[in-house]
Point group: D2
Chain length 354, copies 4
């Protein structure tokens, strides 16, 4: 693809630009050589400069927020990222598709193929089945082939991304017993969004570690859907979600019974082969485990192992930045795949350390 000036760049609009997912899309898209932001959209703040709520963008992104108007969007943009809440996307996205836009949706509305399952966990009406079946689940490293050329991507959840990238190679190889999977997940607070509640109040979170929605998180059916496909049988998991007093980062510590006497070295080898050619997954050498700060601000997912001969059990540790690989970064990775570009385009930023 030849690129000569903005004229040839793909035009991108972002709905939900005043949330953390939206503003992180902006950070990466500003540095993307093949895309340009033509409209930042907010249902609640239309008409005001985006820098009113986000002064860190001063003199970087000088745009007023647009309202939500699918026809206007279709004039301004080729691709729309919908960083909108569950229950909103299900209504908005069909209109955008109708208007001829390509859509990458960051909500949970189009991830669960079984509408009744969606409704049981999300407590919203499921989207129309005909739209639902068009949505390609954009777990880039696993399902990237289907993303290529698609016009409608359902971007995975943050917990599912870390969980599935960590579990799939071992499950796929038949090395672990699918009936024994336990996921102990921890997330920074940005995962709860920019809305205010006691749950995100600084004084309640700082110097605190707390569990929430134990076995009840809406990401559970999304995880089980993918694991079941891989395993070829219904997989049911134990899933604990916990809040860490930090802003960004997810660690999933996962447990499963090994089906053979595999060592850390075996696992390292298996995973490196599985993810060969996929630059955003990095496998730690045997005996080392990743920390969330080692992926902070970047699109990496880092994975380490501890196979324990005493118990025959495997511990897998995966980390991502929930706002990047768990949301905006993977969304852009999907845009790259969709458009036939190198999947790392605009995403080659190192983690910020310390």
């Amino acid at each position: 693809m030849t690129v000569s000036g903005n004229a040839s760049k793909v035009k991108v609009a972002i709905v939900g630009s005043t949330g953390y997912g939206g503003v992180e899309l902006i950070r990466f898209l500003l540095g993307h050589p093949l895309a340009e932001i033509t409209s930042v959209i907010s249902a609640s703040s239309a008409g005001v400069p985006i820098t009113d709520g986000f002064p860190h963008l001063s003199e970087i992104l000088v745009q007023d927020l647009d309202g939500v108007d699918p026809e206007e969007m279709a004039k301004k943009a080729d691709i729309v990222f919908t960083a909108t809440p569950s229950g909103v996307s299900s209504k908005l996205v069909p209109q955008l598709l109708e208007a001829g836009l390509k859509v990458i949706d960051l909500s949970g509305d189009f991830r669960i193929k079984d509408g009744s399952l969606y409704e049981a966990w999300y407590k919203h009406d499921a989207p129309d089945a005909s739209v639902l079946e068009q949505a390609v689940y954009g777990l880039s490293e696993i399902n990237g082939d289907n993303v290529v050329g698609s016009g409608f991507i359902s971007n995975p959840g943050c917990y599912p991304t870390a969980t599935l990238l960590g579990l799939i190679p071992a499950l796929s190889a038949g090395w672990i017993d699918p009936a024994t999977i336990i996921i102990d997940a921890k997330s920074g607070v940005s995962g709860a969004g920019r809305g205010t509640s006691l749950m995100t109040h600084y004084a309640e979170i700082n110097e605190n570690f707390k569990a929430y929605k134990v076995n009840k998180h809406q990401h559970i059916p999304e995880i089980e859907q993918s694991l079941s496909q891989i395993a070829g049988e219904q997989v049911t998991v134990t899933f604990t979600t916990q809040l860490v007093p930090m802003t960004r980062g997810i660690m999933c510590t996962m447990y499963a019974q090994l089906k053979g006497a595999y060592t850390d070295e075996d696992l390292t080898e298996l995973y490196r082969q599985y993810y060969e050619g996929r630059p955003f997954v990095r496998i730690r050498e045997a005996g080392k485990w990743p920390a969330t700060k080692e992926v902070f601000g970047s699109n990496y997912c880092d994975i380490g192992f501890a196979a324990d001969p005493r118990t025959g059990r495997l511990t897998i540790i995966s980390v991502i930045d929930n706002v990047v690989k768990g949301a905006a970064g993977q969304a852009i990775q999907n845009m790259n795949l969709m458009m036939g570009w190198d999947e790392t385009t605009g995403l080659k930023l190192s983690p910020v350390y310390p």
Copy 2:
């Protein structure tokens, strides 16, 4: 017991007064009505005022640090708390016992009854077997009867305290399968002590969540020793230790297969009965889980449950303040039991919130 003035108070010395365990012993002992601090001791800082290193004690504890001298201690004190590192206590404590002192040891040196097991995990020489067998393991709520009247207590580790208080009632009742126990443990940084290393450097810990010593932590044999006693069979656990960017607090999230269709309500009832009359263990009502901040600065251990009918698995969540119930607070609780006092004496402080 009649108490009239300092004359009748029990005299207490603290070895390791410049560590976090030592200084927390001071905080509680200053408010203890039946004990008084007669000597604060430090191998490294003898001769300087304790407030040089801990200005928060200004005008509260006006004492110079003493050196480590068992004979001097025997003159000044009735009871000694040894908040000394592993490998130091094993040599010092026999001398203190010899000198006629009662000892409450906060190191790991006297917790593992099998000397060779100790040496395998701690990489130090085990203490003399004759001394080892005198040590009473001071998990107050479980083993308190043996503490009463004893002269030598080995105070439990922080992770084992949270783990064992969380697991023992269900294990003891035969409700969970001992072969399936997984412990996902998280700790604040004060657990690593006041020594300086990259592991405790602010810029490395802040906005970071990391695992360490996965399946290799020296608290594993301590946990397995107690669980095996309760279960009447050898119990081997999977044990993950992780650092949370906070100063105080431990949460242990524990998983095990249920042996029956027990509900959260059943578990709440079982645990409330088990801990009846033990004021420092609080059981959350069904459907609620404790957070570390809810025990911050206090001697409480709070416990909650999620029994999952989908998987037949039980999740137990227990929290403590690692410096209090996981160290200094439980040590004083053991002193109270040892002396025949109410176990809450001097320990009735509410958690500090927020």
Copy 3:
């Protein structure tokens, strides 16, 4: 005073028990030997157990929240702490006084003696002048003599407490030029209360340091009122308020031109004499400065100095825990003074460190 059982304890009610000031009053009052909590009151949550919002009080304070009813309060209590917002206290307190209750008000409503000045800074109607003049300003160490025997205390603000305790001795001695006072104040986030807003959202505060209300904070007239009384002339200050990513603690760094060649030692001596017999103010030795953590959870105000011969300027650093000496702790200190008790009663807790 002879105390024999609860029968003789003073009965205390707390309005605003679901805020941080209210819950901290509870922490200290639970350990107060001469007072007992007979009613915890909340306008918004009447009828529910206080532990619903504050599980850290489980099994410690088993009470349902009462509604706001002055007549009921008068039946249940002798003293009422009103930890209510500005604009609410001004209406409620007169009713409580009318009902014969002693009142210690933690809002800003009765601190400014000039009603029009209050209205200019607080944007609420000033309380009735006749009630306003009854209020004794409870800066315990400075104005304690007037608190003794009073029935209505206006408890100082958090910033004014740290500022005034730090400035008054030097100003009173005529050592600093009142026209040159600059106060650079920093506070933890609990000072903003438990209400939710973007201002207290974890992800906005963590890893951030920000200024707000520069020269516009409503504590300015309170500070100037007291400084002007001491100086005997109108004092106008520069006052910067800044949010620190921590929960508790205020540091005020204060600057003024020295009127003579005073040294750090001179200042230490001056301040120690000034605060002699007042145990909650601690003066650091020359060349050392206090940190907020050194007073965490306690009622202390710690002060240090740097007199700079290069510029002839004095830097004064004072720290308090904003929730304790800046609110609940000083309120109880005022209750103690009011009742003729030792001012440290129930307040002798050491700072929690680390």
Copy 4:
């Protein structure tokens, strides 16, 4: 300038690659289109992969650390960044210049033109005067013209950068009285480097705010040297340094007496004109102040004002990321200027928010 492949890129070496300044140089240089890293150097860790200490660079920078050898450096590189401690640079840099390398030094060794003043504040021997006089002080926005074409840059300190960018326009315009300048500075902990000490221990910093080196920080002579040049008279400042419980970020809150009735709007206008064409300084609109998070991870310096008619005093608030504009970012900006490139080359990253 035409760039076609690595062949034409400028070769860069980094001494001190295992410190925070060094690793941040790496982050930005990896994305720099006109420079490439040919050697990462560490006196203490030569021979080991850089990813041993910094796993976040896994698969991003695959290089072993080189030892410190000026002749080898001259073979491998055109430009050397010396992110070495004070006292080390003074000895190393002359050798590098001798070997024909261009040098950008991040230590304090070449900032103070008066050797005896350097020795008084730094407690090291001053560098040789002949080398000292070659060093160009690289405060890019102020002294950039002298940087262009130079071969030896002394990169400014973090506090001086924030202070000088905040003060110089008003001082230069004669709007403030140079005799009245007070700087209340706050820094995140990364400013103390990666070395371990109680000063950087997580448990001592978290939930704490502390002052250190009040009026004694070695950055004072650097600030006074520049201010005196601008003012045309000797300027002496009051300077307080304080540690904030965060990793990155500096805020300098600065006070000075105004020489006229200037308003916030006047100041905004003055500063915007002064920094016109300098994209890394952003002036907030009147009545708004910047926060450190708004520049996190970026090379911006954001500035706001509060001119107070009540006191005739001006408050200036400037923020930077101490590791970027206060160290590595400005060093690269200087390299860009030195080489005649656009000063933003490789530095156009948005702040990371939240």
